[in-house]
Symmetry: C2
Subunit: 717 residues, 2 copies
């Protein structure tokens, strides 16, 4: 593009680009022009006189953001002043930098917010008032600035009210399951944004926009590589590449983690063993770790998947998870690095209910892990199902640091083609009462360290980010990235409030748009559960790619088949995990175990997860179980159609490119929901031998046809 | 993005976007605002009154393009009128539709332009004058409109001069080497833009922009899939997906081809054989072909790689290429489909110089192929080397349709990170004299059918397109896509003229920018040859990924090693293809063979391709061969540094994002050029045992280090 006069640019770019579609690249940092004059009159003066107390690479990042936002929202660049009184309206700095102008009370109040917290409000000095954004550290200031800019975009900014916030979780982390060849395990938005081949020489501008997006929602750590790890990432060549990314992310307060392949000493240095107690192995990891820190002084640490699904680990050498994790933790400790060890472990050699294996392995090790180790536990014991009861390991161990692993990418929740807002599901998990270590304990309070005094806290999410221009494939999948960051910052936030924030930042503040899109988002998860796995059904997806229904999937290891989980037979359906069954319920707190052991007391959403129930079992609404299953599947399809109607009614209010993108995908979602309903009901009917309720849309199609469908090139494997 | 009033959009989008970087997505269809008032006064009235003679899906595509262009260039939508006189200024239609207003001479003149030709100029009627864009078919009109819009963008439009053009080649085709899992063989711009998983349900808007870009440069055929073919593309599921793409491309005059795996009858229908003379096999292909045409009535045909590099083919059944090709051709013939059969064949069981194998196989078959078969021949006999003498098969067969296969993707020419403008290399090939079938024959004249009367003509290019936002990874790689289309339309075009066109469309009409970027582009290919493979050296790249130097590569089949090609020893270097050597020179016309057989007569750029030459052989400039090799490698590096300086001097004239993108990549290119020079000279010195000339930058580094470099995740394999 050639460069005509600025005037020409201003005058013309608009036309050329107003005729150009919105591709969603800017995410929730769209910085729409301010149309509300009252808001404008508040914001314009502030950006007309910005004063920074001190200098800092993070302040450079703040300046870049203010420039972008101001030009976009106000059609003018911000004015930065060199002295803090004359012509100054907006103060930016840390508590220490502003100590002379902050009262002792204010200083104490701000100090209490911790490293990442911020305060923003009006300060008086010499009879003049200034708006100030203050943190204890530059990164807190950055969060404050993003929070302020978001309040402007969503038209909720009011300079007269003070506001302060601080995260309840220390590590708010994205886990990328990105392979070095740029494929992404469970990735449905194209391929890995890490262009390893062009690094370190070429820095894709996208890396900076990625950091901006994360920082704007408080994400402060990223693991770059797949937990099914490739040892090559630990070679010097790759360290040089990772260093470039770390340098880009640092001003945005983001630390880099890597996945460590437990067998790396064998693969990289040709050692005969990877035994965590072997002196050469210990020396290998110390040397590797020191080398990484020589490139990246603030390297976050390692994330490890060991002895699970074929990954190497300490068990090969007769060592347990603690011995494996602690060896790595000791290599990291001198650098204040963190070792994150995943609790997602199950073995094909273990006949025990897969649901129970993590507790069986980790409960005996409680208290045996180093201080800088965190055990990262999935929200449920199986694997990111559409709805899953909380993992029994939460509360079962309380002398060990534990962290949450959510999945943002929609492996089991519609993948690339379905609109499913995940925050309600995460909220459900976070608010679950677990009664341990204290009678009031919830998953959220445990993660925050309440009752255990845990200092090192973590909420991780498996990323849904890829090379697709809109980052997440489905425009609405952006809301899951956004919501994850917000809930990791404050697990007590409500999914409805987060949806409202995201909708305003993405589609603007038109109230009709807000209500309608909120309806779509808040109903979407329940709809997906209904047309995929209602009433506690789980893991009945297509094999390996997990795309579409596969309740008939057989062959290979038992716990990779569908019947292992649904156990449908002539009598009924469901996995008996009571004391008469696998006994998995016994791993929960007694309060939970007791309530859930009774099929008439357990919340129906979990019924078939823990009970094998007769087809004629009476549900609370009087329907038989068989009828209930049929009504749920049918209801799921109806919900999707409602989402379609609501979206269609917004055509005049939404950017045409974005509208058509979502319209097309909702059509695909409807087809896929019908496919799920038809395939599952036709299949289960072969066991129930009962008719479908007359008042549902009768499942059509041929079960054999559904069984015959193959997806050899399904993405994300 | 919410939708404020149009005014707000116009007023504000410009600001928000003027502060946003140009990511290169719009290619050469950027439609910059017209700043030249004189040009504007010509164009504005025409777009103020557009009349279409008749209706047609292609006219819909033209309207879309005019809307986009007019809004972008003039800040207003075009005005379409319903009657052809009042308020009308611009007439658009076919010769037949305009027959009443065209003189018989004009009609005859236009008719002579053929299906794809167009005429544009001023017509007088009832004392009024109208500007008209006329073709024999709607697609010709489309080409005329794109040509007119390009003339406006490059400020060369003059309504007072008539202009007509028509392609000299019938099939102007892109070959995508895209796999169904979205990896791209020899792809360096991300991954395949064909999102098979989301098709047919989701139509990516990118498909339409792809069609626009191709149509704008006259490309009218695309093969969607890798020549190393996957039979799955021929299943009904995939046909439904391909149909959607064909429907998108049709209004833009683009036909879809697919690659056919010769063993598909075995893989898809479980036949025991794929013997082309087996009745069941013949029936399989007829049925498959008929089925494809039931979805895509204007399906182009098949592209086949057989019995080469392990691909299945007729040889397994004792049949020859003609028998294999004709069987498929007969299945296509009833639908007017075309069968394209690649001449790139060589076998590891064949000890003969790989350079000779295609001629050995195809010369005896000349005249034995069906009328709807085209033999697609690479520009050279080895494999898309930085510089390669013309393939001896050109002119050796003249009773068979032949087509050209160029490679746009830079497999051996810098891949993703180097700026190499390829048109000069293609021009060199097209203008090469081959003396057969007539003494005046050149590659271009043969491809146009001169001397053979060949009707079905083809120039194909292996695509460099991927999911990268700018389509081609390197911004300047867009120029190779553009140049390929232009040279396929008219093989006599000069690469300098094409560069000028592209520069104006991409960077604007500033003369300083034009000259400087033209310098960079026109020197880039010779520079790459110098620092990679000067004086006729070839195939000394890294194994399999072909990234970087690998003159030492040994092991496996001989013709996949580097020494097979350079033959360096204590006496000299080069591949003896004279009668004393492999005799490959004998496959050329006597005029060529004679001249090139003498190391003192052969153009030095081909010297080591055909001769094994002593290190002290005297070059024309008096240097010894060893000195000459050293000077060429050194010169290549110096040329890249000159490109860097020239680019740096343009900083104030180029969009910042685009400037920095190219600046970074030129730095990488400099490092890679030094790497090539150092590695190759250090390696060859171990044979020549001679010092480097004192006045070159002395190659530094350790040969063992260069040999040790591994690129396990290099793209494009």
């Amino acid at each position: 593009m050639y460069k005509p006069s600025l005037l020409a640019v201003l005058l013309w770019t608009c036309i050329s680009l107003s005729s150009f579609a919105n591709d969603g690249y800017k995410l929730w940092l769209d910085y729409q022009p301010i149309s509300d004059s009252q808001l404008k009159s508040q914001v314009e003066p502030l950006l007309g006189g910005v004063y920074f107390f001190g200098e800092n690479p993070t302040y450079e990042a703040i300046r870049k953001e203010l420039n972008l936002a101001s030009k976009s929202m106000l059609a003018k660049a911000p004015v930065y002043t060199k002295e803090r009184l004359q012509n100054t309206k907006l103060w930016i700095g840390t508590r220490e930098q502003l100590s002379q102008v902050l009262s002792l009370d204010q200083q104490a109040q701000i100090k209490a917010l911790g490293n990442d917290g911020y305060w923003r409000g009006t300060l008086e000095l010499d009879g003049k008032s200034f708006y100030a954004i203050v943190g204890n550290q530059p990164v807190g200031v950055l969060y404050g600035v993003y929070n302020w800019l978001n309040s402007i975009q969503s038209n909720t900014f009011d300079s007269s009210t003070e506001l302060s916030d601080s995260p309840k979780i220390k590590l708010r982390m994205l886990n990328h399951w990105d392979n070095l060849d740029r494929t992404v395990e469970r990735g449905y938005a194209g391929f890995s944004i890490w262009d390893w081949h062009k690094l370190p020489g070429y820095v894709d501008p996208r890396y900076i926009d990625y950091a901006r997006a994360n920082a704007s929602i408080g994400i402060n750590a990223v693991s770059l590589t797949n937990v099914n790890a490739n040892a090559l990432i630990l070679t010097t060549d790759f360290m040089k590449k990772v260093k470039v990314l770390a340098d880009v992310f640092r001003p945005y307060g983001i630390k880099v983690f890597l996945t460590a392949r437990f067998s790396a000493p064998i693969q990289l240095d040709g050692l005969k063993t990877a035994d965590p107690l072997d002196p050469e192995v210990i020396a290998f990891w110390k040397k590797k770790t020191d080398e990484i820190y020589s490139f990246i002084p603030d390297f976050g640490g390692f994330l490890v998947k060991a002895n699970s699904e074929g990954q190497p680990g300490p068990h090969e050498y007769g060592r347990n998870h603690a011995e494996g994790a602690n060896m790595l933790a000791e290599a990291l400790a001198p650098h204040n690095g963190v070792l994150i060890w995943r609790a997602f472990v199950y073995s094909h050699e273990d006949e025990v209910d897969r649901h129970m294996q993590a507790n069986n392995e980790f409960e005996p090790l409680d208290g045996k892990f180093q201080e800088n180790v965190i055990i990262q536990i999935k929200n449920g014991a199986i694997d990111f199902q559409p709805r899953e009861p909380v993992h029994p390991l939460y509360g079962a161990i309380n002398k060990t640091n534990v962290g949450m692993e959510f999945q943002i990418t929609q492996e089991y929740l519609g993948q690339a083609t379905q609109l499913v807002y995940l925050a309600p599901m995460w909220e459900e998990v976070l608010k679950t009462k677990i009664y341990r270590p204290t009678p009031e304990s919830t998953v959220a309070s445990l993660l925050e360290g309440e009752g255990t005094g845990q200092k090192l806290t973590l909420i991780a999410g498996v990323s849904n980010i890829g090379t697709d221009r809109n980052w997440t494939g489905h425009l609405f999948a952006q809301s899951n990235w956004y919501a994850f960051g917000r809930q990791a910052w404050d697990p007590s936030l409500e999914s409805k409030q987060i949806a409202d924030e995201w909708i305003k930042l993405t589609f603007g503040t038109n109230p009709e748009v807000l209500t309608k899109i909120e309806d779509i988002m808040l109903s979407s998860h329940e709809a997906a559960v209904d047309y995929m796995t209602p009433l506690g059904l789980h893991h009945i997806m297509g094999r390996s790619h997990h795309y579409g229904p596969g309740p008939w999937v057989m062959g290979g290891r038992a716990d990779w088949t569908a019947p292992y989980y649904h156990n449908a037979d002539s009598l009924g359906i469901g996995f008996d995990r009571t004391t008469e069954g696998s006994g998995a319920l016994g791993q929960y707190a007694p309060e939970v175990a007791k309530a859930w052991s009774d099929p008439n007391q357990i919340p129906e959403k979990y019924l078939l997860w823990f009970h094998h129930v007769p087809w004629d079992f009476k549900l609370k609404n009087g329907n038989t179980l068989w009828e209930g299953i049929a009504y749920h599947y049918d209801q799921g399809v109806k919900e999707v159609r409602k989402m379609q109607e609501t979206w269609a009614s917004l055509e005049s209010e939404i950017d045409p490119a974005e509208f058509d993108h979502v319209r097309q995908l909702l059509e695909v979602q409807e087809e896929e929901a019908e496919w799920w309903r038809n395939a599952c009901l036709l299949y289960f009917k072969t066991f129930s031998k009962r008719p479908f309720p007359a008042d549902i849309e009768q499942p059509e199609g041929d079960l054999e046809y559904y069984k015959s469908l193959q997806f050899p090139n399904a993405p994300g494997i």
